[in-house]
């Protein structure tokens, strides 16, 4: 129970940071998608049970604060979770560099899924002109965020060991 509350608190903090704290301080498209990073981490480590459901729910929650299409992030987060979960046992998931690389690739994949779903089903003509140029910077920013976060956690772990 404590663990669930802890994970919920962390995910809520990430959402608050992504929606309220960071946007006034960072320019588009250099705003990290912290929830996507969380989904990637959960999928690679298998930290929670029913991770697919959690990923879908996180996507829906993000949809409540992003765009106007409920289910867009829900679908893409679930798809990403299922793909990563399927290949996680073949990867050396303890490696920090792998996590950084996967986060970058996942950001691009997430953007492409959004693009496909928006182009086919929505009336937002020309969304590709905004989305495609933003993909690479967002991927790099997400990768940078995950490396900073991991670096901080490693330092903290080393201090705790001392």
């Amino acid at each position: 129970m404590t663990r669930i509350l802890k994970i919920t608190a962390i995910l809520t903090a990430l959402l608050v940071a992504q929606v309220t704290l960071l946007p006034p301080r960072l320019l588009d498209p250099f705003k990290p998608d912290l929830l996507l990073i969380a989904v990637t981490y959960l999928a690679l480590t298998g930290t929670v049970r029913f991770g697919g459901g959690v990923a879908f729910l996180l996507g829906l929650v993000l949809d409540c604060f992003s765009g106007q299409y409920l289910g867009l992030n829900g679908f893409s987060f679930l798809a990403i979770y299922l793909v990563l979960e399927a290949i996680a046992d073949r990867l050396y998931t303890d490696n920090l560099y792998l996590l950084i690389l996967v986060v970058f690739l996942v950001t691009v994949l997430n953007g492409m899924l959004h693009l496909i779903l928006l182009v086919i089903f929505s009336v937002a003509d020309g969304v590709y002109a905004t989305l495609l140029p933003a993909l690479l910077p967002q991927g790099l920013v997400n990768a940078l965020s995950v490396s900073l976060l991991s670096g901080f956690l490693i330092m903290k772990g080393a201090e705790d060991e001392k």
């Binding site: 879908f56 604060f65 106007q68 289910g71 679908f75 929505s122 969304v127 933003a134």
Partner: protein
């Protein structure tokens, strides 16, 4: 059959889950202009947290800025004394101008036939993805807000409300790709539609080749559709391209409102509850 199901169990479950998520997304597409119970619930739970965090974050920024300001305070003090003398002179002039402005404003108000009730709101969040342009404001259904209401700032049009929860709402900005506003060019009265292009940019579409539109022209709401009051500034023309072929011109418009620095907005409360 049973062996098949057993063998491909994981793939089938994954497929079913993805299909369900996809169906959920497609079903919600028709209702994207309104917040459903789930969205309202999440926004209601989240908005008090966002409000507190935004306030605390603003306070901390203020404290930090005050500290930085203290570093050069002595030198600044001398400079300020000098500028106070100059400003005192200007103050007298500006007081006169302000009084004149007040009088003119009252005159203008008398001339204004249409009066719209408005509610002030603070921006407490921005869109989570860089390719969508929405903001979260701290007013909702409890304050009388409804989907489709116009949102403006002192400089002009901001966007319209797309999702309303109890105490918060989401505003689709005019720079979002899904946004469109019927406009006229103030100088030549040429008509068109300003559509969002993302990244704080807009474009004036459906302006036919022969229309007289120049860089620097102000673009204002035409009032067609009844969402935005006629005459409200939408933006300024920054680029006009007339190709040799084609019916329409390619025109870039810079929004009148600096969306990246938006802190307070006005919601025009229309009586239409549709």
């Amino acid at each position: 059959m049973r062996d098949f199901l057993r063998k491909y169990r994981l793939q089938i479950i994954a497929g079913v889950l993805l299909l369900a998520a996809f169906v959920f997304y497609s079903l919600n597409l028709t209702n994207r202009g309104h917040a459903n119970a789930f969205e309202r619930g999440v926004q209601t739970v989240f908005s008090p947290i966002a409000r507190v965090v935004a306030k605390v974050s603003g306070g901390l920024s203020g404290v930090w800025n005050d500290y930085i300001n203290l570093v050069d305070v002595r030198r600044e003090n001398k400079e300020l004394r000098e500028s106070v003398k100059k400003l005192n002179t200007r103050l007298l002039e500006s007081t006169e101008a302000e009084l004149a402005n007040e009088r003119l404003k009252k005159l203008l108000e008398m001339k204004t036939s249409l009066k719209l009730p408005a509610i002030a709101a603070s921006v407490i969040g921005e869109d989570g993805a860089p390719w969508f342009k929405t903001i979260l404001i701290d007013r909702g259904r409890a304050d009388g807000l409804r989907e489709g209401m116009a949102v403006v700032a002192s400089e002009g049009v901001v966007g319209q409300i797309v999702k309303v929860a109890g105490n918060s709402s989401r505003v689709l900005l005019i720079s979002d790709n899904a946004s469109a506003v019927a406009v006229v060019v103030q100088r030549s009265r040429a008509r068109g539609v300003v559509k969002g292009k993302g990244g704080g940019r807009c474009a004036l579409e459906f302006a036919v080749h022969g229309e007289d539109i120049k860089v620097g022209d102000m673009v204002i709401a035409s009032g067609i559709g009844g969402l935005f009051p006629k005459g409200l500034p939408v933006g300024e023309v920054t680029m006009v391209k007339k190709g040799e072929y084609g019916i329409f011109q390619t025109i870039d418009v810079r929004p009148a409102v600096n969306i990246t620095r938006l802190e307070e907005v006005l919601v025009l409360v229309s009586q239409n509850d549709d």
